[in-house]
């Protein structure tokens, strides 16, 4: 059989789902794209058994076929071709796949489609719908704060907490926490689950930054995302998420407001001088001035920088991991950023100067101290 497709169109779809494929998987078939052509519609599926992703596009096909196509070779070939229509000629019996361009002929061997794992049938209990843009933002603002500690699997994902009226996306690595809250829903149910980081990264790559609706269905083991022709199913992290609400400080009498870009630039310079292991920087806030300082005794390095700011509260000196703080500052969109403190050994809050409607972003960072 044969089908014709534009390299550009196919590549776009393959790029969306290729992130699922792992190198050297347990079973070799997982290194393939599953191509299923039915009535001129090409459905492409990839999986690592934890995550399944499909997308589809229209092609000009002379008949239907199911075949598994080696992902690496086919993708590399397409990437290196100029945009043009190409012909795929597939011999069902021998599984030979030939890609024909005007000047070239590339032959590779495919695999049996029926060896490819089946896309799980999801019996969803509940679902919500939100705009792609909103979900994308929630992922972007939380994913960096997830943990990497394999002894704490629960923190390696993004916690999704659905209440009747709002949805919270939460990430923490036990040193800092981000909560993105979206309001204005009428869900009619309450649930929560932990989404694995890999699926979040795939969504981040695939979600369009527009108002297209994303439907999220879920049961106790899986979440199922569908949007603009793409579907993604991922196994949930089957762990309990810590009660993060209890650690968000409510009384923060010391309030700071500062230009975010200035703060980030100063942090970048000063943190070069911080100890490479601890990354500690210290913020000393008094009056309308914030002094950022760092030192590395091992190398006799030190740096300080002063920034003007708006500050209400008692003078305070508080230390943080520079990397954590910078990452959080980068996750804020507003020109000004607010910080709130209670004590040098308590969490500091980081907030955008203003939120979009129906949105509430809260970040929290635990201090780093020298004198316990």
């Amino acid at each position: 059989m044969k089908f014709i497709v534009s390299t550009n169109d196919l590549l776009k779809q393959l790029d969306l789902v290729d992130g699922v494929v792992v190198s050297k998987p347990l079973i070799p078939i997982l290194e393939n794209f599953l191509f299923e052509i039915k009535g001129g519609n090409l459905k492409i599926t990839t999986t690592d058994l934890e995550t399944f992703m499909t997308t589809s596009l229209k092609v000009e096909a002379d008949s239907d076929i199911d075949i598994a196509v080696p992902s690496k070779v086919s993708l590399e070939t397409l990437k290196n071709l100029p945009t043009q229509p190409v012909t795929f000629s597939i011999d069902e019996a021998s599984k030979s796949i030939e890609i024909n361009t005007g000047n070239g002929r590339y032959k590779l061997t495919g695999n049996e489609a029926k060896d490819f794992p089946k896309f799980p049938e999801l019996e969803s209990e509940n679902s919500i719908v939100l705009s792609s843009k909103v979900l994308l933002k929630a992922i972007n603002k939380t994913i960096f704060a997830t943990g990497t500690d394999e002894l704490r699997i629960n923190l390696t994902g993004v916690y999704c907490q659905i209440t009747d009226t709002h949805i919270n996306f939460v990430a923490t690595d036990a040193n800092r926490l981000v909560r993105v809250q979206r309001k204005g829903f009428k869900n009619g149910f309450e649930t929560s689950f932990i989404l694995p980081k890999k699926a979040m990264n795939l969504l981040k790559n695939a979600l369009p930054n527009d108002e297209s609706p994303v439907k999220i269905e879920f049961n106790s083991s899986y979440a199922f995302f569908s949007f603009t022709g793409v579907s993604l199913i991922c196994r949930l992290i089957d762990e309990r998420y810590p009660d993060y609400t209890a650690v968000i400080p409510t009384e923060n009498p010391n309030k700071l407001s500062i230009n975010r870009n200035d703060f980030i630039s100063a942090m970048k310079r000063v943190s070069i001088y911080s100890n490479k292991t601890t990354n500690q920087v210290r913020l000393k806030i008094a009056g309308s001035e914030m002094t950022i300082s760092a030192e590395d005794y091992d190398f006799a390095n030190e740096a300080t920088e002063r920034l003007s700011c708006n500050y209400e509260g008692a003078d305070i000196e508080i230390g943080f991991n520079a990397r954590f703080l910078t990452e959080m500052l980068n996750a804020v969109d507003t020109e000004e950023v607010k910080m709130e403190f209670s004590m040098p050994n308590r969490a500091g809050l980081l907030l955008p100067s203003e939120n979009e409607s129906e949105e509430d972003i809260l970040m929290l960072i635990m201090p780093m101290m020298i004198n316990v």
């Binding site: 002894l151 490479k276 006799a300 101290m369 316990v372």
Partner: protein, 610 residues
């Protein structure tokens, strides 16, 4: 010249530790040699036959004695070296009890021939079992010659307890070396059954050591010298490679007097920690000079145990000195496929033009293979040696428990820490999530990430306990750890130290702790497992000699918070790890003495493909 020997007052004699002076031929040798040294000799000759049973003869060219002194010297408590009890505490000469010759005379056939340099004729005295047989004026060289024959001829019980001739000979060699080592200015000759075992020329201390320990090369011995208000120390420490599986090459001298001290031995051997395996003993010779009043040499009749006024200070000092010698001299591990060793700068031997590597040498199999033993007799007695350095170390250590913190004073000091130059990296990458490869100029470094990081953290934690506190990363979710009451006691005692290491811990209820924060920058931080594991480590080491609590603590936490095999590291992390490793006091070995890295030179790489 006036006669100089007086009889000790009775009460002084009684103050002197009692004991059998002469236990075996070696005791006679020791007494005679020490007397000859005390007499200011330039050359001393020792003859023995049949392990000293049939003959011991010491010929010196020292001061000699007047006829009266010669007679007096055989009397019990006759000594020219001490006249009152006060003098007991100011001893600079070796003999002091004035009972050696008398004791020898009682149990052997002895002959003394002695002439002062100013006298014309010599005195010859023959004594058998304390009975003076004859006193004659004879012709003889200036100095003293004492001949002891048929030792224990009248004490069969003693005779029966003597070991075989080779064993007794070995004891004699030990005593000989203990006298010969600290006196390089005196020439010594030693003949056993007419064959020479040692012919030691007078010269420098270094020459003396190399003459005696003919199996060692001069670049294998490091020299250290330090002076404090308490003592000045000169030391010669062997590089880790020449440490041996058997004891016997450990020498401590105070004011040129040999002594044994398990506690101070620990000070030195612990400086080798991680450089050599546990069952291997380093080579060292240390000479202390202290004010004579500050030691009590009288605690043991064999005079090989000595009490310092403040032994703990000496301990720290000695440890620091040894550590420094080793630390200063251990350089970048040598790139050689055949050897697992590192090069060592020549110590005091500045003339050594370059470092000659001893290939085919494995520091971890005890003494070097294929090394020629310069002296046959040497190897013989070394083989039979099973010497046991008695140590009252553990008991004393108990007493130090309260003062442990001071133990570190000499070790790793915060304020004296200077930045070391680490090799500059051209490129660096991680392999198999286990190793770090770094190219620096012509060399390729292969680093075991887990072992290296353990080393880095271990030193960091030790420094933290010593004052260079580690920052605390406060944690969002405080962890509660419930402990057994006995375990809780262990942790509770360590709370201040854990705080210095960067833990923020709070006692909660009776036997529980809340972990609020952990040392900043640690990667694998399951706080709960960390504390529980640490308690286990403590319980396991509790049964052994109490060891060093901080050390156990630093080790335990370093093991548990370090990067592991299989951890994927970022480029920054591997670069940082590389640099931090070379800031360590001892970058080349992990905390259990295993290698952290290997260096391949371009010629090593070439060799791979020949």
């Amino acid at each position: 010249m006036a006669d100089v020997i007086k009889l000790l007052p009775e009460h002084v004699a009684n103050q002197i530790a009692a004991g059998e002076v002469i236990q075996r031929p070696a005791s006679v040798v020791k007494e005679l040699l020490e007397n000859a040294v005390d007499a200011g000799s330039k050359s001393i000759i020792l003859h023995i036959k049949d392990g000293g049973r049939t003959l011991i003869q010491v010929i010196d060219d020292g001061a000699g004695m007047s006829e009266t002194d010669a007679r007096m010297s055989w009397e019990r408590h006759a000594t020219s070296k001490i006249a009152s009890a006060d003098d007991l505490f100011k001893l600079n000469t070796k003999g002091f009890r004035g009972e050696a010759l008398a004791s020898i005379a009682a149990i052997a056939h002895t002959e003394m021939r002695t002439r002062r340099h100013t006298d014309e004729v010599a005195t010859q005295i023959m004594i058998e079992g304390s009975e003076v047989k004859s006193v004659e004026a004879v012709n003889a060289n200036a100095g003293t010659c004492i001949t002891v024959k048929n030792l224990f001829y009248n004490v069969p019980a003693r005779r029966q307890f003597l070991k075989s001739n080779p064993v007794e000979t070995k004891y004699i060699i030990d005593e000989f070396l203990r006298v010969a080592l600290p006196h390089p200015d005196i020439a010594f000759e030693f003949y056993n059954n007419g064959n020479d075992i040692f012919k030691l020329k007078s010269g420098s201390m270094e020459q003396r050591i190399l003459e005696i320990f003919a199996d060692k090369k001069q670049d294998e011995i490091l020299y250290v010298e330090e002076t404090t208000s308490v003592a000045s120390i000169k030391g010669f420490v062997g590089v880790p490679q020449i440490a041996k599986k058997t004891r016997g090459e450990q020498y401590l001298f105070v004011n040129n007097r040999f002594f044994r001290d398990g506690y101070l031995n620990h000070a030195i051997s612990s400086a080798y920690k991680e450089l050599i395996p546990k069952d291997v003993f380093p080579f060292y010779i240390f000479f202390f000079s202290v004010r004579p009043e500050s030691i009590d040499v009288n605690v043991h009749p064999q005079k090989t145990e000595i009490k310092f006024e403040d032994e703990r200070i000496i301990y720290q000092f000695l440890h620091a000195v040894a550590r420094k010698a080793l630390g200063d001299h251990i350089q970048v591990p040598e790139a050689d496929f055949n050897m697992a060793a590192f090069t060592v700068k020549p110590g005091v031997y500045a003339t050594q033009p370059r470092i000659d590597l001893n290939t085919g040498f494995n520091p971890f199999v005890g003494s070097g293979s294929g090394q020629t033993q310069a002296r046959k007799a040497n190897s013989d007695w070394k083989k039979i040696f099973d010497g046991d350095v008695k140590g009252s170390f553990s008991e004393r250590y108990e007493a130090e428990q309260t003062n442990l913190k001071a133990e570190f004073v000499g070790d790793i000091k915060h304020d004296t820490r200077i930045k070391k130059e680490s090799p500059s990296i051209d490129s660096i990458w991680q392999v198999n999530k286990k190793y770090i490869m770094a190219q620096t100029g012509e060399e390729l470094y292969i680093i075991d990430q887990e072992k290296a990081h353990e080393r880095i953290l271990y030193e960091k934690y030790l420094r933290s306990i010593n004052g260079q506190q580690i920052a605390t990363q406060e944690r969002l979710f405080p962890q509660l750890v419930d402990l057994q009451p006995t375990d809780f006691v262990i942790v509770h005692d360590l709370l201040p130290h854990l705080a210095l290491m960067g833990f923020d811990l709070a006692v909660f209820g009776k036997n529980s702790l809340i972990i609020n924060g952990v040392p900043a920058g640690i990667k694998n931080a399951n706080e709960k497992l960390l504390i529980e594991g640490m308690v286990d480590d403590f319980k396991q080491t509790q049964t052994q000699a109490k060891g060093d609590r901080f050390d156990i603590l630093a080790r335990s936490i370093a093991r548990k918070t370090g990067v592991k095999q299989g951890d994927e590291l970022s480029q920054t992390e591997i670069t940082n790890l590389f640099e931090e490793l070379f800031q360590c006091e001892n970058p080349y070995f992990d905390i259990s003495g295993k290698r952290t890295l290997k260096i391949l030179s371009s010629s090593d790489l070439e060799k791979l493909f020949i």
